[in-house]
Amino acid sequence: MAQSDRTLTAVLGRPGPRAKRGGTSILGEPWVALAAVVIAIFLSIFVILPLLIVFKASFFHDGILSLEHYRKLFEDSQYLRPLWNSLSLGAAVAVAGTFLGYVFAYCLTLTAMPGKRFFRFTATFPMISPPFMIAIAVIMLLGRNGVITRELIDLGNIYGFWGLFLVETLSYFPTAFLVLIAVFQSIDPVLEEAAQNQGATPLRAFRDVIVPLSMPGVLSSLLLIFIESLADFGNPLILSGDFKVLCVEAYLKITGEYDTAAGAVLSILLLLPSLIAFFIQKFYVDRKSFATLTGKPSSSRRKADSKWGPWAAFAACLVIALPIALFYGAVIYGSFVKTWGADASFTLDHYTETLRGSWGTLSDSLLLAAISTPITGILGMIIAYLLVRKSFPGRSLMEVVSMLTFAVPGTVVGIGYILAFNDPPIQLTGTAAIVIILFIFRNAPVGIRAGMTAIRQIDRSIEEGSANLGAGSMTTFRRIVLPLIAPAFFSGLAYSFVRCMTAISAVIFVVSGRWNLVTVSILGYVENSALSRASAMCMVLVIIVAFVLGALNLWVGRTRQGETWV
């Protein structure tokens, strides 16, 4: 789990020191040139092309170029309503999620709060579980037939804005937490002391020092959560009720009404705000962060004495952690009862059913993840190496494109894939290949970013030193560079595996009767109100993911003792 933690920090957090642009030209190295060209072709086909096709589809009406759909856009509330809903939900979730993440990250880094390990664990939980797991719990507890609704208090209709707001906030606050924890860790706690020493009350010191210094991180996580909420598919599909959002509408238009054009227009509406947020995040916020500076950081990270401070922090974190624990507890509990809401007797049936009846989708998921994860990892390292250490025309473009899939909502990608690869020349619909390719290009950005950070941190003089001691360049790469980027590589693997096992928004378009995935199948059970069965499947999924991550961590820990990670 700590693994995926670092991964996300590497991607979402502040970038490594930006090395001077440079690098050796690839003209003298045919193999490197070939790799660059092949990667460029693949990126064009599997990242750019699907997006272009979505654009194209939105501009065609009955086979002719037209702005018909865009004209409708301003007349028809079927477009504007979901747009407004998605944007307002995204904004609300971004604010609330960032706030929770801020409280969590602050308490964990800058206070002497007890129970830090527990809270850290809580925050990583939503990251390794299927995205709609909390939604299932919310239905179990707060739905029309939910336990809390029936036994304690009726909070009204949970299907709609408030339900989604609650679920997405809890699901995505870990993003803010990870971004901000990196920011807080880079703030020397002595600065807070310095402010107090200058006469500022603890509160004033917080306002004058911590708040401004963490502002870039706050902006960053606002934008990232906004993107995540906009792209969220699983939760709205279960919980949105009459509150229509872009992702689900686009999905329904395409798969229900076969209205490709309408789906494409909704996709574009979804894509634009995401891209705008992504580019603001990437080119503005990233650069604005204050350098951690002056002198060496003070050796003592000891927190100043305070009687009630740590307990106030503890209480604040508990208020956030308890609902999460409650929701996950509900899923665990629900997976062991016969029929949620009707028959509470204990049973293991759902697990045996999951392992017997759903073994097909489980093994499909595992197989496709097992194939695509190593490819994603290796591809990520190669791209990272090319981007950092080699110079070739179009390098910046390659960097942007390879990161792009991170910002493009899965629904848009999925629609792009079915539009682009349904017919020759590239006919992939229904194959395992389309799922694998989708996984690879959607999950690569994390490995690439982590790899770039790692490679930038390798001082050229280390490589030169190796060469100077008589090692050939192959030996240098194998003995020096590879071990140093190994942590980034494994981070990329971990992230990619988690995403393969839990993602849904894009793959739901490309799965088929032959190749189905467990997340899609869980969603089916939720839609049929088989909540206990869905819970059991979620649990199995979480256990598998946790097990693989643990094994990966153990393996990495054995090969690389005492390594400081990215």
């Binding site: 020397d188 600065l191 107090q196 200058q198 603890p202 951690t292 002056t294 100043a304």
Partner: protein, 339 residues
């Protein structure tokens, strides 16, 4: 009265659950207007002591009195003892001017008054050219001066320094050291200064407090401590000293009999007072090693089984080779005995 510490104790809970006494019953008088240095090896409790004075730590026992008022429970922001931190702790998002003015703004000092004080202090510390810069744009020495200005601008009664020079290179360290001392004298402020560098401590202080394992070993003027260390620890920590055991019952030092007070157990021989020559003397020694240091040479010798060091100023007739036999006398009047 300045600042008085009464039997101050600070205990920390270690990870293992054990209690660790970082400061173990320190009592001190820190008189106003003077430069006091807390000196000791790392882990001796000097920084913890300073942090208690600043209000970042609360004493487990004992009292800290300022003008006879117990301030040991007063929170840091109400103490008014500005500190110059080891890492300077400048606010990275504020300019030099904003950094220095921060404490005044917090205190709601009127704007014209802030302006006046800023001008004065920035001039005093030669920072006028850097007003609008951010800390990251400054050199280490300039950052150090901003940190000093930020503390001094409050015109405090007491100013605290936590190893402020340890991040500077050797030359700059000496310059800044002298600058701090001269500013302190000019302003007439009480300074409490933590360092592990004995040379720095001697150069700068009116009073040195030597700490060891959380306890005060000795406190006094630099020259007094240097001449009359109360323990072997102090003798060895301050300057370069030979501490030789006195053999009883005869009262012999390195095989030779001297008239020695009966209570003395060992004798402190400063390296620079060991005057070796090729001539005659009561003690003879062999040169084991010679380290040329420019104006003087540091010799390591053995005499009667005892390892000694001697610092000899550079003179043509006093350059010895390894393995050479030399002689010296001990001037009883210059020796310092330890009980």
């Amino acid at each position: 009265m300045g600042l008085t510490l009464e039997n101050v104790v600070k205990e920390f809970q270690l990870k293992s659950g054990m209690q660790f006494r970082a400061v173990d019953g320190v009592s001190l008088d820190l008189s106003p207007g003077k430069f006091h240095t807390l000196l000791g090896p790392s882990g001796c409790g000097k920084t913890t002591l300073l942090r208690m004075i600043a209000g970042f730590e609360t004493p487990t026992q004992g009292r800290i009195l300022h003008r006879e008022r117990d301030i040991s429970q007063v929170p840091a922001h109400e103490r008014g003892f500005p500190m110059v931190f080891q890492s300077y702790a400048l606010f990275p998002h504020l300019t030099v001017e904003e950094n220095v003015a921060y404490g005044l703004k917090v205190r709601k000092v009127p704007r014209e008054e802030i302006r006046k004080r800023l001008d004065k202090i920035l001039k005093l510390l030669d920072l006028e050219a850097n007003l609008g810069k951010h800390p990251a744009q400054l050199s280490g020495g300039q950052q150090q001066r901003v940190a000093l200005a930020r503390a001094l601008v409050l015109e405090p009664e007491i100013i605290l320094f936590d190893e402020p020079l340890s991040n500077l290179d050797a030359k700059l360290r000496v310059t800044m050291r002298d600058e701090i001392r001269s500013v302190q004298k000019r302003v007439g402020i009480t300074a409490i200064y933590v360092t592990h560098d004995q040379e720095e401590a001697m150069a700068i202080s009116d009073q040195i407090v030597i700490l060891n394992k959380g306890k005060v070993e000795q406190a006094g003027a630099p020259l007094d401590i240097y001449r009359k260390p109360v323990s072997e620890f102090v003798a060895r920590f301050l300057g370069s000293a030979n501490v030789v055991l006195i053999a009883r019952p005869g009262g012999e030092i390195m095989g030779q009999r001297y008239e020695i007070p009966a209570s003395a157990k060992s004798v402190v021989i400063r390296a620079e007072s060991l005057k070796i020559s090729r001539g005659q003397g009561r003690h003879s020694a062999i040169i084991e090693n010679a380290i040329f240091l420019g104006g003087r040479t540091h010799y390591q010798l053995t005499c009667n089984g005892e390892k000694l060091s001697a610092d000899v100023p550079l003179r043509d007739d006093a350059v010895f080779d390894c393995g050479e036999q030399v002689a010296f006398d001990l001037d009883l009047g210059q020796l310092h005995f330890l009980g």
